[in-house]
Subunit: 445 residues, 4 copies
Amino acid sequence: MKIELLSREKVFRDPVHDYIHVQHKVILDLINSREFQRLRRIKQTGASLFTFHGAEHSRFSHSLGVYEVSRRICDKFSRNYPSIADGDGLWDDSERLVVLCAALLHDIGHGPYSHTFEKIFNTNHEELTIQIILSDKTEINQILQTVAPDFPEKVASVIQKNYPNPQVVQLISSQIDADRMDYLLRDAYHTGVNYGRFDISRILRVIRPYKDGICFTYSGMHAVEDYIMSRYQMYMQVYFHPVSRGMEVILNHLLKRASDCYNTPPHPLKNNATFLIPFFENNWDLEDYLRLDDGVLTTYFNLWLDEEDPILSDLANRFLNRKPFKSVAFDHVNDGKIITEMTEIIERVGYEPTYYTAINNSYDLPYDFYRPDSVHPRTQIELMDHNGHLIELSTVSHLVASITGRAGGDERLYFPKEMIELSKEVNLFQQELERFKELKKQLEN
Amino acid sequence: MKIELLSREKVFRDPVHDYIHVQHKVILDLINSREFQRLRRIKQTGASLFTFHGAEHSRFSHSLGVYEVSRRICDKFSRNYPSIADGDGLWDDSERLVVLCAALLHDIGHGPYSHTFEKIFNTNHEELTIQIILSDKTEINQILQTVAPDFPEKVASVIQKNYPNPQVVQLISSQIDADRMDYLLRDAYHTGVNYGRFDISRILRVIRPYKDGICFTYSGMHAVEDYIMSRYQMYMQVYFHPVSRGMEVILNHLLKRASDCYNTPPHPLKNNATFLIPFFENNWDLEDYLRLDDGVLTTYFNLWLDEEDPILSDLANRFLNRKPFKSVAFDHVNDGKIITEMTEIIERVGYEPTYYTAINNSYDLPYDFYRPDSVHPRTQIELMDHNGHLIELSTVSHLVASITGRAGGDERLYFPKEMIELSKEVNLFQQELERFKELKKQLEN
Amino acid sequence: MKIELLSREKVFRDPVHDYIHVQHKVILDLINSREFQRLRRIKQTGASLFTFHGAEHSRFSHSLGVYEVSRRICDKFSRNYPSIADGDGLWDDSERLVVLCAALLHDIGHGPYSHTFEKIFNTNHEELTIQIILSDKTEINQILQTVAPDFPEKVASVIQKNYPNPQVVQLISSQIDADRMDYLLRDAYHTGVNYGRFDISRILRVIRPYKDGICFTYSGMHAVEDYIMSRYQMYMQVYFHPVSRGMEVILNHLLKRASDCYNTPPHPLKNNATFLIPFFENNWDLEDYLRLDDGVLTTYFNLWLDEEDPILSDLANRFLNRKPFKSVAFDHVNDGKIITEMTEIIERVGYEPTYYTAINNSYDLPYDFYRPDSVHPRTQIELMDHNGHLIELSTVSHLVASITGRAGGDERLYFPKEMIELSKEVNLFQQELERFKELKKQLEN
Amino acid sequence: MKIELLSREKVFRDPVHDYIHVQHKVILDLINSREFQRLRRIKQTGASLFTFHGAEHSRFSHSLGVYEVSRRICDKFSRNYPSIADGDGLWDDSERLVVLCAALLHDIGHGPYSHTFEKIFNTNHEELTIQIILSDKTEINQILQTVAPDFPEKVASVIQKNYPNPQVVQLISSQIDADRMDYLLRDAYHTGVNYGRFDISRILRVIRPYKDGICFTYSGMHAVEDYIMSRYQMYMQVYFHPVSRGMEVILNHLLKRASDCYNTPPHPLKNNATFLIPFFENNWDLEDYLRLDDGVLTTYFNLWLDEEDPILSDLANRFLNRKPFKSVAFDHVNDGKIITEMTEIIERVGYEPTYYTAINNSYDLPYDFYRPDSVHPRTQIELMDHNGHLIELSTVSHLVASITGRAGGDERLYFPKEMIELSKEVNLFQQELERFKELKKQLEN
């Protein structure tokens, strides 16, 4: 493995971590690569900025942050817990570079509004991350190869969680990893809410390696508990905000409508959407994917304002000019009949339900212990007492126990705001709209 | 004048001012207008993010901030200095709405990377601001008209500085106005530097109206001085950063090359750049302008990567993938010959000077007193002593005096980084490159 | 009631709330009174500064902060929920002054290290608060009387929770009152931990009056939940820190020993402790109490370093020079025998157990709903949904439910650190000390 | 030299630097010494808290902070500029321990309100610092001796600026040293003003050793400039605040009156002021000095409230209960006659001028270059360009040049506030008071 250090440390000023410190040439080269620079043009929190206007930061900034957190952890580990003998469960600092690269690149496969985009076009940002790292056509791959021919595979395997050293894997992906630590702090910073500001200094003091991964000294239990609470609050108050989801629903329907127009045209697209065509045709490759960014999508949306298809241009207008769908929460066990009736009214009033209604649920498991039979068993958070015994977090924290394995979030019906904004003029559908509002009120009680 | 208040105050969470408070329906409508939402897609500090990656915030956020600062000043004024009789030089709160609208809209005419764009395409964001406010085709104008038929004119005249009440004008444009107060704080917040964090709470305590505009109580002298220092530091350390200017130079040349290719093609553009064509043809209208945003430009740059014209695709690549031109400062009085020789070498090595070199100067007058004979005479900052006399700031502050009327900044020659990065292979132009580096060194001493 | 406003608002710069705004002459006079200025000499968090050295702030700063929080709440209430008709459950702003005075004075009866001091000398800071407000010998009382002859009684009754308007009472004392809001933020600020930094801006947006007190709009549920978590974390991580308690134990024993020496002298006190004598003699009046402050105590401790009594001078030294007792947590149900044996060893080694051991338990009920049969039933936190119905917090928050009615904290045995710091020299008591450490280890497993 | 490292780093949570990191046993022992713990009872900014109530922090916190800043600088130096050969002008990390000890102890000789106290009692905190370090009766000395017998002398010589290595000396005392960096940040943090918040992260990046001391890389010029501005602002706005000085004047007169009463009694002191007697008798030793702290002084002031001497008890009351003298600025060149007349009126009205008036001037030289003929020539701030040449700061910064060698501050006459607060009742001295106010107004114009 060829590890080249910079003659002089290079820094990037960062509002969250003060400075990002780069000491390895390969890291600097990765940052300067085409695939990584592209992350500047992809926002970190998608539609959240329509609720919290400050959330305009990119995946580029976040990726630098994850890198920096992981670098600081490596520093702590190598200073306080250096491995002396094989298998002693301590930190082997020759893992540092693979950690740093994986941290920096863990989100490299994200595209514009990924979570919505992939539902429509069957892309998968996790698979794409691996592809970008492994494909010898990318600059990322070529740079990683300068370290060692099998280095790209190593980095990829960390992200895929099958790298042999569990400490390395858990630094990058676990319930308290460098990724989450950065995004909670960064998203809190930019949205202007306080909820995400857990005590990272203290977390970095109590984190430690052990033979099966990373854990936390018992004295840091409350700091870890506090981090879980921050995460929970950010999901409840920011990430699941109903208005942002009202914009995501529009985006989803808009992309779907464009695809439908392209493929089964009553109203064929006049304007070519060059970069999207491979996706409409479900025949895209990595190069096509790497051309996409937030600006590409909004540029096409801008073009579609003038399309003949009324649904397409209407949805484009709603997205570009922030006209979110409204919503009401419901309980899918008991409220099915009401939802059906509401959907029928929406259709009767003239909105095509496929494009003008949506059921959207946002749920998050704020924490869970390891359940071997689960679909995605989680690496549980372990505390180490001063005798070296491990204790799973929720067994000692009532707070964490109270939300362990219990999904937080809700399920909502989305619909055009026109359904509840009665205009003052006489309305053909006055009766339907009144009924709609009545049903909405029933759900709210 | 019809002033409609919202039944319930509406707030926007803001990372800089905590909350933006909206009490008037017209303000909410303006924020929701198409022209204003468009500002979400235009970054506040242009190419600064290539140096300070956190500077990803938009003109949308800044405009809300200017609105909020001006709203707080109106609150102070109406509480502490309400006008009792005409001409008493105190605050007439019936001016509030025109202040708030002007504050919110003062940047509405900005387009993507305006400062660079306007040099190439003869757009002018200040004139466009007025046009957007006055043209009856915009939503902005229609919303303003709901207040009074002449209200758009009023708002425009505040921005044009010919509104009769000088207090209103100076709140929006003077050497210490709501605009500057917001951008210093906001740009400091996002870049992560401290320099811009002056003490706005104290400034808002000492600001006051008087018959010829706004001034500051004498006891606040040091707070005002501190604000001037913040502004000076932000210019020196952030806005004039040589690397950001190295990206602006590329952007300038890229837009110019695209225009040249379109108009005088050896290599005609293959890909249509729909939204730019009216600008290439120097035949655009307001509607064309409103279609532009940062994403539109980068989308075309992305397309141009594949153009046949090697200069166009090279410059597009340099901009998208952050490969700034390097630079060296010089003194245009004494260093003319060196600059000429350096430029000639660049050309000899094979770079067309029009697109691969630039002289860029960035100067700012951090403060000046009123000079009636100046091209742009400035409203000087006045302090009011407890006898009601006014004292111009620089007469009592040595610090401010030391930078008054003295432009800060520098002049630089920009060139491709390849000129100073000698590759290890034998190079045809080795001798020229050595000479180039030697000349550069001479300038640096 | 005579309410005199200041001709110009007076402000105090505050690190937590930016500015404290004083608009009433009576408030300014109260702040300038002798009894209130005395709070500058009494630390807010007592022995916490021996663990978190930054916690050096006084009850003076905190009292200003509580005043300011309550003032802001009054502003919100009077702007958003002004009472229109008697009994409408909205806010009657004529209550403002009694709220502000009660907020400012709620801690006026505190003395130096009150919680420890009162255990030894039977003082009671809550009764003393009332006495200071009601006794016509205090400046506080005389100032309050300028408002109305019965105004002192009114202010006192708010603090005693029998003022008729429950909104007023709950602003000052409830599970989420102005007092707690200030101390969480202020103690977090000075200790340097993040745990106490809940989102006060949002809390102040969702707080509202209703006919039986104050409540929170349902949409603010998570913000209230977050406040409860902050409070819980501050108790667990700061207020109950074992080291601070190790200093409180010493203080307790030191005061007790001094009192014992004075009253039952083998070693009579040589140095007069003028200000403490009335307390030693259990014959003190309000004037005696008002002479006490942190500095008075440490001045006597300093004198006692030279006393003949070895226990007194040793404990004085331990307190002044920060030599905390060490401790071990135990379970009083199961560990009784071990504790007994440990205490016996301490005695055998030569330490008088009364002054050199202690059982200290610190428990806090982070939240509870109203339990009519409880000794101190709590005003539960209510959320108001948009139909005006009230919902008790723990019924909708799993997190809060998990800690509702469940005391957090622990019970510890305290002992001199010499018991576990084996010196290298041969030690007469080597065997006892070994056994002691063994027992300690048993408790820790 | 015996350097013992702790088996595990010990940290102190700090609100300004996040954590203070202690790695050497000797540092921990010094912190735990009697003389150092005493600093907890001495406030950092003396009477400033009477203006900025938050400024309640102690010299203990500040001393830890100076230690931490110097530790971070040593880390930077040893990482980036390690000496390779003798005399290469780079950093010799074997100097680290002497730097850390000198940083920690540089203020150990401070007593309560030193600046005022030393004027009355001829103590000198700088000499006392040296004495505490060198006297073999102190714990400090004994701990330092464990490193090496001559280690106390070494530490003392750093503080006295005659240690051979100028880098070590300048880290502790120069115009931009660890001491000033900490107090600007810390005092800003606790007062709640922003002025002191310079960009320490960047300063720590650009600071570097050279053969004659420490300097800064040229690229950091603006960051250093910004630090000078912060320092200037803190002096102008915080340290020289007229109200704090009005309290210092009272303290000065109070201590003087007590000394006069003791020594030339018309009214002998009834209450013994045990700890002050050696100072009244001008016959004190180090042990006497170490007994003093803020609380000792206020305890005696409290006792003196009941003294027969009316001036003593009145001044004690004014200090304890914050009744500052008022003041007016004047120009000692031109205003001598007015000041004389004002002083005469004060005397005529019945106030003894020695105790009820004062001329107080506060001036600071925010920066100066090295002037060999000056009484206290200053180590000038040097910038190193990339050729290794040194450039004195004020030659390249107009801002710094404008305040170089120019003292900022003012001169004021202090007097009892009763002189300008006309009571409503008929006043014997009405005419004198009117004249007094007239003269004051003349000075203010």
